[in-house]
Symmetry: C2
Subunit: 876 residues, 2 copies
Amino acid sequence: MAKEIFMFEEGNKELKALLGGKGANLSEMTRIGLPVPYGFIITSEVCVDYMKQGEEVVEKLKDDILESLIKVEDKVGKSFAASENTLLVSVRSGAKISMPGMMDTILDLGLNDNNVEGFSEQFNDRRFAYDCYRRLIQMFGNVVMGIEHDRFEEVLTAIKKEKKIKYDIEFSIEDLKNIIVEYKKLVKNATGREFPQDPYEQLFMAIKSVFESWNNKRAITYRKLNNIPDDLGTAVNIQMMVYGNKNDISATGVAFSRSPSTGEKKLYGEYLKNAQGEDVVAGIRTPREINEMEKEFPGIYNQLKGISQKLELHYKDVQDMEFTVMDGKLYMLQTRNGKRTADAAIKVAVDFVKEGIIDKKNAIRRIDPELLIKIMHSRISPNAKKINRVIAKGLPASPGAAIGEVVFTADKAELLGKKGKKVILVRIETTPDDINGLAQAEGILTARGGMTSHAAVVARGMGKPCVAGCNELEIDLKEKIAKVGDVTFKSGDIITLDGGSGELYLGEVATIEPNLSEEAKLLLEWADEFRKLGVMANADTPFDAKKARSNGAEGIGLCRTEHMFFEKERLEFVQKMIMAGSKKDRIKYLDELEKFQIKDFQGIFEAMDGLSVTIRLLDPPLHEFLPKKDKIKDQIGFELKRHNIDKVKYLEKMLKKLDALQEVNPMLGHRGVRLGIVYKEIYEMQIRAIFIALIKRPDIKIKLGIMVPLVADINEFTVIKDLAKRIELEEIPHSGRKIEYEIGTMIELPRACMVADEIGKEAEFFSFGTNDLTQTTFGFSRDDAEGKFLHYYLENKILERDPFQTIDVKGVGALMKIAIEKGRNIKTDIKIGVCGEHGGDIESIDFFNEIGLDYVSCSPYRVPVARLSAARAEIG
Amino acid sequence: MAKEIFMFEEGNKELKALLGGKGANLSEMTRIGLPVPYGFIITSEVCVDYMKQGEEVVEKLKDDILESLIKVEDKVGKSFAASENTLLVSVRSGAKISMPGMMDTILDLGLNDNNVEGFSEQFNDRRFAYDCYRRLIQMFGNVVMGIEHDRFEEVLTAIKKEKKIKYDIEFSIEDLKNIIVEYKKLVKNATGREFPQDPYEQLFMAIKSVFESWNNKRAITYRKLNNIPDDLGTAVNIQMMVYGNKNDISATGVAFSRSPSTGEKKLYGEYLKNAQGEDVVAGIRTPREINEMEKEFPGIYNQLKGISQKLELHYKDVQDMEFTVMDGKLYMLQTRNGKRTADAAIKVAVDFVKEGIIDKKNAIRRIDPELLIKIMHSRISPNAKKINRVIAKGLPASPGAAIGEVVFTADKAELLGKKGKKVILVRIETTPDDINGLAQAEGILTARGGMTSHAAVVARGMGKPCVAGCNELEIDLKEKIAKVGDVTFKSGDIITLDGGSGELYLGEVATIEPNLSEEAKLLLEWADEFRKLGVMANADTPFDAKKARSNGAEGIGLCRTEHMFFEKERLEFVQKMIMAGSKKDRIKYLDELEKFQIKDFQGIFEAMDGLSVTIRLLDPPLHEFLPKKDKIKDQIGFELKRHNIDKVKYLEKMLKKLDALQEVNPMLGHRGVRLGIVYKEIYEMQIRAIFIALIKRPDIKIKLGIMVPLVADINEFTVIKDLAKRIELEEIPHSGRKIEYEIGTMIELPRACMVADEIGKEAEFFSFGTNDLTQTTFGFSRDDAEGKFLHYYLENKILERDPFQTIDVKGVGALMKIAIEKGRNIKTDIKIGVCGEHGGDIESIDFFNEIGLDYVSCSPYRVPVARLSAARAEIG
């Protein structure tokens, strides 16, 4: 049988799956000689058994647990359940993957009516001992025996009222004894059972309770949200208690070896003097910054700093530590790799390379490319900062600017958020129960809690802006209003917060475009050293083109021309062109459009001077450029009232045209090259405009590509290629400018994949349009699938993942492989890329790299993601 | 250089490509000793050169032509261009593939002012000689020099008027001389050139004219209609003239060795005494039946019968012969394989096997499977014959019943026909200029012309009903009315004609379902001996199932259940089921539908007892079962007026539901297995109904298949397979009946092809749905392509053929091959078929046989076509 219990010195950091993260790291710290209160761990495998077989699993293990407990007693020189020199223990959960606050913890375990006095003697502090006992009954009653927290608070409140006192600290020993009596009555009334006086009973009940907490609702939700498997189970840590709340030379705190917010290299964290650990994490009291400790406990501070550095080098990562000081002595209660913002993650990875701790490849491997999106926080515009008044300032708990309407409850945030409203969740403090609202909010604002409070940690994890511990903020939940100084805002009002500075504004404040940090740029340069896959951008405007370029795109892999057609001043000509009765008429309006297109292309060429630009000819069906039927009908009604007969006639003609163009399945209709073949004059105009744009700007150098969409047969492609060659002859030779270009095709239909050898004879490049290819391969359109059954399919695991997000390797991917093989068989060096949305998806890029594509083309914003992903795909 | 001129004895029947059909067969007849007027042939290769290089080709060949002409002079003992013992020749076109009446013919070539008298002495008939000369000028002027036929007729009419005569025959020699003078003036006026007096000039002009006629409009249209390549060219036949119009022991005629209408074994045809060949073919005079010749010219008749039998055995096919009798001597002017009706073709092929002329394989090879559709003529119901009055009777020129509205011009027939109207073209006689109208008409009725008249020949070729030579019919083209006896009908009136009996009815007369002839059944039995491919039918009703069975289907390969849902009494429940707010409600209505479905399936099982039935679960999206939006709105208006508030509410709910179900691309939407997964209760009902139907009828034996549509992923299939297994367990074990079934899937999406190995692990059969597979492979829907660009694509040869008609081998076919390979790799004996419309397409069946499918499933009506095609595919 596998080992079921590990004493701390028996484990190590590699055993996370078995011992949980907390247990493995407590073991590791013990092994490397750090001051850790002694204890042992029951493995997560026992939890898995427990889930299957129930309580008997713990029953069978009782002897082994008691044996381990004796080892602890021997080591620390105290006795569990004894009335003198009493050993108290904590019982904590700890899974392979951290689920902070999701599962159970019980402290002070081992106290009872008999030994509380003895315990008090040991500490020489009866008040402290009775308070511990009171806390044990409350925590045990709540966590293990399932009595609502509020019912204990009611007892406290009643006695406070009676005694006319305000704070817990004011309770006398007699008060505490009374509370203990009342608490025990409460336990009996609520559960029909006595609070267990037997410390061993307490212990085993607590262990079972920790196992059961693996399947509590919060934990299940958290796992679902974070894609954590349900069958891992949790380990149980049983450890000697130490007390940060013992006296004024005691304290408790958390510390990061570097800033989890910015990555700055300095000890970062908070502590509370004379307090227990839960007080910090829960965010109930606002703690002090860790650097203040340097003055208050200089020796402890330096010891902690040393341990921090040692652990960081040992783990080669930023450490998030929990510690307690008791009687002026430091105890380490936990260490783990610290969660951090995307900014911090990148800065730390880059700094670690600079400091020689890890190499470039490791740095690249460490950064989830999606983080590059997260660091592109929008920020409050510097101008706006001058104009707008900061109404309050809290802690800058998670960077980025957020604008939204105020909501005061998580449920409201969830409700409105799901409807697509932008909301800011404003809370005194947040708890794990608020997770649904946090997930839907644009940003979070809390009145209490520090940089490591629940709200702050969760917000950073989600990459959402958060201002925490904004002490000036007074919230009236009943009236649903909040006040800061002289300013009041209510539910539904718009506020803006800046999680990078902690500042709060009333109303909507202007923000500016995000940019990559210097560290991110450096990391991407390293990525460029390793990647083989080219990274281009999909850009239709000079603005997007510039963005793409500044994000490191090597060119434009897809310039969609239809977006140009939709622009206001062109749309009228586009519509007249569509409604033209004859080719001659159509050409008249196309001539007008040509002038615009020349300018469009010039703008893009300018932005991409020196790089490559691949322009796709018009793709969507013509009816998309006409107004909707109802809209035309409404306008006819309007014009009729005004007796504007000519306009009415025109609109009626438009309605007729719309009917004539109507399609049953527009996605499978008259679009792409089919349009360009039947209305050759449209493609002719576009190709001519492209050439003329380049002729007019001899100063610009562009590697030009012309791309034909939706080709299913080589003949379609050849018709357009011949057209291009003809226009080339008409425009280029006499212009005096030398223009070279490649003409290629989208591969976005299964048939194109199957005849890619034929197409490859004529086409100079292929670009996979994986959106359309996915639609036709699966036979469902994105629009129709998403509204109707795709959600069901994903939820019920009929499809593993959304094929419109991540390339479907088995189907679409297999077709791509066929096309690549056929294409390269005909033309070894044919350039092959992808320009569907999958071009910016991390997993898809991995696949594209594997099948030997030459480049991906994606949204300008995702270019950094693609660069990093391509490098990760290559270095593995 | 290739041989450019062949004397008749130098050619043979194998040289059709070079000598044209007419020339090759004249050569063959010469070689086997039949009486053929001597002559020679200029090859079609010369015509091809002529088309490229123009007149010089003939110039260069002049000497060779003259040499050949001398050979003819020597053989027949007459001299071309001489004024005594004058040789006249005919110059006729003749291409590899017969194009009757499409190209030029010139007769009596070689006459001029100088030799007409000498020619007359030779025949001892001056009237005849001058008439020949008159005919030459007219024909040459029209055909070679391009003067309209009518202008010559005007000359004749003027002289008739002046002389107060009615018929050509009444012209005196002086009249004819006058006409010749007038004709020559006409030629000079119309063309600026004299009618050429030099016989050699006549000859060379005529040869060039024949070459040029290859590219006249009529010929081009004919070739397009009949898929004849444009680059074949025509040969030119130059042959000594013989005269069927010389005297009363002269005649001209056409004869078939068997009836081209029924295939009956007897000499069949017509002749005209004292007439030239063109008179028969043009249908201007109604000739006598050939059997009358037995009395009138018994010697000639027997000689002809002997030649007919000899030729039939020699060619191993029915012969269509032209002959002339001059001075009581028989001359064969042409023989060729006779065009025939589909009925005749099948009877002849079967009879030839019985007579030992050809073997079964040859008979199968000879019959284009489409003929099996053509012989399924609808016929006038025997009952209708009793009730309806026959208003007139003509010749039964081409079998079948036709009902349609009367039109009197080909153009009108084309116009209405293209709009989808059923029209009967009523003409005095038809000419090649009417071809556009003939192509669009349901049936043809002529007042003049025999069984071999233009109308009759063309109608038989097209498989259209035709009543020809209905002499009682008087047509007034100006008033657009026609009269037979006391009955008058006008343009737009409905008439019915029976091409099998020659009978004509006013109005629409009841027709009956067509059946296969005994010969066709025999031929299909032979086909079954050779074919490997199974032939199933797509049938949704007991009626169709019976039809399929009687046409020889081995089972139902596709039973679509949606058609059952549309039936009147169910549709209400279907709609209520769709509109149900909850699953519970939905199940309530599904329970009602289940009762209907059980009956539906029982009916089909009954019809197919002993055979296999494969039922496809519901495929179309639910909104297809609701009325159209406008219709609901109209009904709301109607019910509002009646204050039927409940109904209005229901309709408004329906409108909402319709909106909710709306799809952008229904073809790519929530249908097929996607529907069955999200609304499992629908498939559950269907599967249960199938099992119960079989349980209720233990007397019936069915090889049952359940088929899941639109599967893209194995998980989709497994969900439904599991469902079926569950229902099986619920229904079958306790029923006492043993039911075995196979559960398989449609392969109709590219992805299904790519993952056919995975699907093959679970599915027991595959059935390719080639309609959907074609749509998704090409990325265009049939509906949208056909209206918008497919026509353009086919006309401009961007696609060689309509992929919805004939399987696209390169794309769709390649995907099918992948699926078959993957499927059989996993399960060697997995049954694989096809049930798209391609299952009944001849060429597609060829491909399906080649790639090793197990069966095709097609429309019940196409089952015979599929059986024959499958055999032809196998025997090659």
